[in-house]
């Protein structure tokens, strides 16, 4: 995409996000253009989810400038698809995969949704097929594997035809093959739909192939830029401690952080 033609999707200037007046994340400056994918990296409690929730308009206490598609975050809500952590959902509710996906498409109109409209169901089936889960549409959400649940939630987010996808730890608590499945779907979304994405993660490994930008935060902005700019020894050590390292192997970067995660630029594990 021609950078001069690309639309600015997110712009943050001197952004400080607070809870009850106390800063949770300070001094954030970055911008993200249409079609780009930002990988948001940092240790537990660094402020990754806080930043994501502020962009999604779930949290509104902040100072500085934050624009999404040139508007306040809440003004751009219709353009945003939010994918929460799957363990934050109440799985006691007996919903099928198809019903969960349809949820993403019915709240643009009406207040009572006794019956899901036929067109919405057809679209839900189509996006379930897009994420490779057409065969599980009638299975209960809670009976799906971790990777399948995450893909169902991705399908639900696609129902509203978003231009910005916000994903909160889409790889957490998944085994390596499920991580690869989800990363594959994210790659497909980027490739075929060109949707801008912000993805928070502890495990950057399977996602580096999809990431155009990496942001490292730890209560404040540590680094932001292209993966090869951010994934440097000195930068990684400043957040994860002296044991963290970045190792170049065959032209690719491997990132070893203190929490035993190994990240490689270009996808795959070490």
């Amino acid at each position: 995409m021609n950078p001069e033609m690309a639309m600015r999707v997110i712009k943050a200037e001197n952004l400080t996000i607070t809870y009850d007046g106390k800063p949770a994340l300070e001094g954030v400056n970055f911008s993200l253009d249409e079609g780009e994918t930002l990988l948001l990296l940092g240790p537990n409690g660094a402020g990754k989810t806080t930043l994501l929730r502020t962009i999604a308009c779930f949290h509104r206490e902040y100072r500085g400038k934050l624009e999404v598609f040139g508007k306040e975050p809440c003004g751009a809500r219709e353009l945003i698809g939010y994918v929460p952590q799957s363990h934050s959902l109440n799985e006691r509710v007996p919903l099928t995969a198809l019903e969960v996906v349809a949820m993403g498409g019915i709240y643009r109109y009406g207040f009572a949704h006794f019956k899901i409209p036929r067109e919405t169901l057809m679209k839900a089936e189509e996006v379930l097929g897009f994420v490779g889960l057409g065969h599980v549409k009638d299975r209960l959400f809670r009976e799906l594997s971790g990777g399948q649940k995450q893909r169902v939630l991705l399908a639900r987010a696609l129902m509203s035809d978003p231009r910005l996808l916000l994903l909160d730890e889409p790889l957490s608590a998944l085994d390596p093959s499920a991580r690869a499945e989800v990363a594959g779907v994210l790659n497909k979304i980027k490739r075929e739909r060109g949707i801008t994405m912000v993805i928070t993660t502890h495990d950057i490994n399977p996602l580096l192939e999809v990431g155009d930008r990496v942001m490292l935060i730890n209560k404040r902005l540590i680094a932001f830029g292209r993966p090869e700019e951010v994934l440097q020894d000195s930068v990684i050590k400043s957040v994860y401690g002296p044991l963290a390292r970045v190792i170049p192997v065959e032209g690719k970067l491997f990132c070893i952080t203190g929490d035993v995660h190994i990240h490689r630029h270009g996808g795959g594990g070490l």
Partner: protein
């Protein structure tokens, strides 16, 4: 020949069953069991306040009206506290404790007002609110129960899917354009209004059990939504009708019988697991 009072009791049981059978799975999936506890306090306070007004204005219709207004106001207050950031447990705990204190105060006032109007027999009404007395339901009360119940049933039916989505993922619902606060308010008002409508037939003491257990049992025996609602409806209907018949034959209060039967079924299922 079935006595008229028994017929009225059976009809009331059917309406109560339809309402509780539908509501109970929602109470379980949304985690509203603690809210029904707050409902207990709200209803009792509303009934006591209603009886005071009923005596002062010599109009017993004010009892249910006041109970309804007080209960709905209190559940909306709980919903508002949750919106302000209180956890559901804290919101219910704060409001229920405060209302319990008001109820004690209300009883003091009620006894004083009753002493000034000895010709107005309200003592039985207080007992019927606590234990439920389905055999004493009047034709007027039955009409209110059926018409009001039908209205609440259809509101619940048309919003059922939305309430399920609200229980499943409120943030997701909000992010896709759903008005989470409005749905939560409507759900809480429904719970409060249904509680008010059925309290004199079910009884405050047993209300929480008959509102929670059918849904809990249905969710134990099935994971298919239609079956869950079907089991909950049939179970509530079977328990309510059989408790009325048993009560007719044995003179034991039907609400107590219903509670015991539900408890036994739940216990057996739990043990078999």
């Amino acid at each position: 020949m079935i006595p008229e009072y028994l017929l009225r009791a059976l009809l009331a049981s059917i309406m109560v069953s339809v309402l509780l059978g539908m509501l109970s799975p929602l109470i379980n999936t949304k985690g509203l069991a603690f809210l029904t506890h707050a409902l207990f306090h709200a209803l009792l306070f509303g009934a006591v306040l209603g009886m005071i007004f009923g005596l002062l204005f010599e109009n017993l219709a004010l009892v249910m009206l006041t109970a309804l207004i007080v209960t709905v106001t209190i559940v909306l207050l709980i919903a508002h506290l949750e919106k302000l950031g209180f956890s559901p447990d804290s919101a219910v705990g704060i409001v229920a404790s405060f209302v319990a204190g008001l109820t004690v105060l209300g009883f003091g006032v009620l006894y004083k007002v009753m002493a000034t109007r000895p010709y107005f027999p309200l003592g039985e009404s207080i007992v019927s609110y606590l234990t439920g007395d389905i055999f004493l339901i009047s034709l007027n009360s039955l009409t209110v129960l059926v018409l009001g119940g039908a209205f609440l049933f259809f509101v619940m039916l048309f919003l059922y899917r939305d309430f399920l989505y609200l229980s499943f993922d409120p943030e997701g619902m909000e992010s896709y354009g759903g008005n989470v606060r409005a749905y939560l308010m409507v759900l809480y008002v429904l719970v409060g209004a249904i509680g008010t409508l059925i309290v004199q037939t079910v009884g405050l003491i047993t209300l929480q059990v008959v509102a929670v257990l059918p849904g809990a049992i249905a969710l134990m025996v099935s994971s298919d939504l239609r079956k869950v609602i079907g089991v909950s409806l049939l179970l509530t209907l079977g328990i309510q009708l059989s408790s009325v018949v048993l009560a007719y034959l044995t003179d034991i209060p039907p609400s107590g019988l219903a509670t015991i039967m539900l408890g036994v079924i739940y216990g057996v299922l739990l043990f078999r697991r």
